[in-house]
């Protein structure tokens, strides 16, 4: 039996990747199950998905706590979540990154396969959707499953969900990523701090309100405290602003869903701590003073 944990962001299709891997295993005569971690996560927020593969019927229904393989669809997640959680020294990682394996620090020194899946996806699919490409890297790095089976699994799952033609394209992306994957060993110096939770007793709660704005061990809580939650790492593209073309109409300021474009009277200032890179500002700018570029 082997177990895989996928680290992705909502909307990146980690669940579909997990399913396609299970389907690929099935093509090779194995049993496979795939399932997501249930939560209230939106697009862009860190999410988990799992695949469990075995020669025999699988009766284990639990979440996966000590995976043999960990697949990371976005290397910026390494800074945000503890991707090394539950990994043993013999575990193997597969990472979408522009870096080399030796340049990555996953918190445990293990065999690591790396591919720039975002570039592959942009090239083959025309969109930064990396869930198919990363499976090519998985096949190359782990050798658990043949690339042909991965292609088959993708045709099956993706084809069913988004149409045969796109299924085929995604299979191509996996193959392209397979060819480009580089395998090495990552570093293991990182110590992830476990984020504290705010668990007050009833006596500590203010009377008549759930929370007031307060600084706690776990950071800000209460009204307005979301300002502590930096969403900038969700971005794939970022706005580049040309002050000379800007006429200070404030449309970008108004339309920004995050409210992270500030009017500084002489110029607009973009706050990359929060910008999710949606591109509305660039699309709506009447002077074409904003352009979206790969972050």
């Amino acid at each position: 039996m082997y177990e895989v944990r996928f680290h992705g962001r909502g909307g990146q299709g980690a669940v579909m990747a997990a399913q396609a891997l299970a389907s690929a295993a099935h093509i090779e005569g194995n049993y496979g199950v795939a399932f997501p971690f249930f939560g209230a996560e939106r697009r862009g927020a860190p999410v988990l998905a799992f695949t469990r593969v075995d020669k025999d019927r699988i009766y284990t229904k639990t979440q996966i706590y000590e995976p043999d393989y960990v697949v990371i669809l976005d290397d910026r997640l390494i800074e945000l979540v503890n991707v090394a959680q539950g990994l043993k020294e013999i575990a193997v990682a597969v990472v979408n990154s522009q870096k080399k394996p030796e340049e990555l620090d996953l918190g445990i020194p293990i065999k690591t396969g790396v591919v720039d899946a975002t570039s592959v996806a942009l090239e083959v699919l025309g969109a930064p959707i990396t869930n198919s490409s990363i499976l090519g890297a998985f096949a190359k790095t782990t050798g658990e499953v043949k690339i042909e089976s991965i292609e088959g699994g993708i045709r099956d799952i993706f084809g069913h969900r988004i149409g045969e033609e796109l299924g085929e394209k995604n299979a191509k992306a996996a193959r392209a990523a397979y060819e480009k994957t580089e395998v090495g060993t990552c570093r293991g110096e990182r110590k992830m701090e476990v984020k504290k939770q705010w668990l007050p007793t009833y006596k500590e709660l203010p009377l008549g309100a759930a929370t007031r704005p307060m600084q706690t061990d776990a950071g800000l809580v209460g009204p307005g405290s979301f300002i502590d939650n930096k969403t900038g790492s969700w971005r794939t593209f970022k706005p580049v602003y040309d002050k000379d073309k800007c006429n200070m109409c404030r449309f970008c300021w108004f339309y920004c869903p995050e409210g992270c474009i500030y009017d500084k009277k002489e110029e607009m200032v973009f706050d990359f701590d929060y910008c999710k890179g949606c591109g509305i500002c660039a699309n709506e700018c009447p002077k074409e003073a904003i352009e979206m570029v790969r972050d």
Binding site: A45, D228, R250, F251, Y255, E258, D273, N283, E284
Partner: protein, 292 residues
């Protein structure tokens, strides 16, 4: 727009999907309503991305009770505040289209009939998005959702969009208006008017959802504008039942709007024709509400 305050009463750091139309509306609304406001939320996306206990993007008191009863709870809060001598506080309910057109309509209708002194805002993203895209009464004809899947016999939603603003006008309340995030000046004026009037005020604000409608996140505002241009969403307001059309639609082909969205990708020419016909009829109906 130039006069809007810089201060955000709905802060950054919320967890809406990139390109979400709803926070554009909420930021603007909170700037208009100001700090002397309490908000009420039924279950919806805004509730989840705007606050996950103990963190919260709103800088004003914020309450969450049940999916069905936004209008009831808001009414109760307002009456309570009045008893405490705080009748000047704006009480606003922010509900989704599912929480308005379907599950909350009974409470909404009751509060409107009693002419409760509250503002009820429905942000219309045309499906139950929070739970992963199920059709609502407000979903348009032809749209794919997980509960109106695309198969051989049926492709997308067969029925047409429920016209909730007209139902609300029929309640004879002081103010009913439709708005869109694509028309800021019109939307801000309506929010202001709603704030300054007394009695029951209903606003339905069109807010596209890139995740559920399957389009490029940069096109949220553009699609909101196109919906108004092609007549699938009309901008009007009714003051004490007297209807004014705020923008005559250009009646551009519905097809241009449909083409940009994955949820309509499967639509045949015939289906698009039906939707076009519905848009034409909608404009006839909406313009007929105006009494000279």
């Amino acid at each position: 727009m130039k006069d809007l305050p810089d201060e955000e009463l709905f802060t950054a750091g919320h967890t809406a999907c990139p390109g979400c139309g709803c926070p554009i509306m909420v930021r603007a609304a909170m700037k208009i309503f100001g700090p002397n406001t309490v908000c009420y939320f039924p279950a919806n996306c805004l509730l989840v991305f705007g606050a996950t206990y103990p963190q919260d993007a709103f800088k004003v008191p914020y309450l969450h009770v049940l999916f069905e009863n936004s209008a009831v709870c808001a009414s109760g809060i307002k009456r309570g505040l009045k008893k405490l001598g705080k009748g000047d506080v704006n009480v606003v309910a922010f509900a989704g289209d599912g929480g308005t057109a379907d599950i909350g309509i009974q409470a909404l209708s009751g509060a409107a009939e009693r002419n409760e002194d509250i503002i009820y805002i429905c942000y219309d993203n045309e499906a139950y998005m929070n739970t992963g895209i199920q059709r609502s009464g407000s979903t348009p004809h032809g749209a794919w959702t997980t509960t109106t899947p695309v198969g051989k016999k049926i492709a997308g939603k067969e029925l047409y969009k429920k016209d909730v603003p007209r139902i609300m006008i029929a309640h004879d309340v002081p103010y009913v208006a439709t708005a869109s995030i694509g028309h800021p000046a019109d939307m801000l004026r309506k929010l202001e008017k709603a704030r300054d009037l007394k009695g029951f005020r209903y606003l339905q604000i069109f807010a596209p959802c890139p995740t559920g409608w399957r389009f490029d996140t940069a096109k949220t505002v553009q699609l909101a504008k196109m919906a108004v241009d092609c007549g699938l969403w009309t901008l009007y307001e009714a003051e004490d039942g007297k209807v004014t059309i705020n923008k005559k639609p250009k009646m551009t082909p519905v097809k241009d709007y449909v083409k940009l969205q994955g949820r309509f990708r499967h639509m045949t020419d015939e289906q698009i024709d039906s939707l076009q016909e519905w848009a034409n009829k909608k404009w006839e109906r909406d313009s007929a509400m105006v009494i000279e």
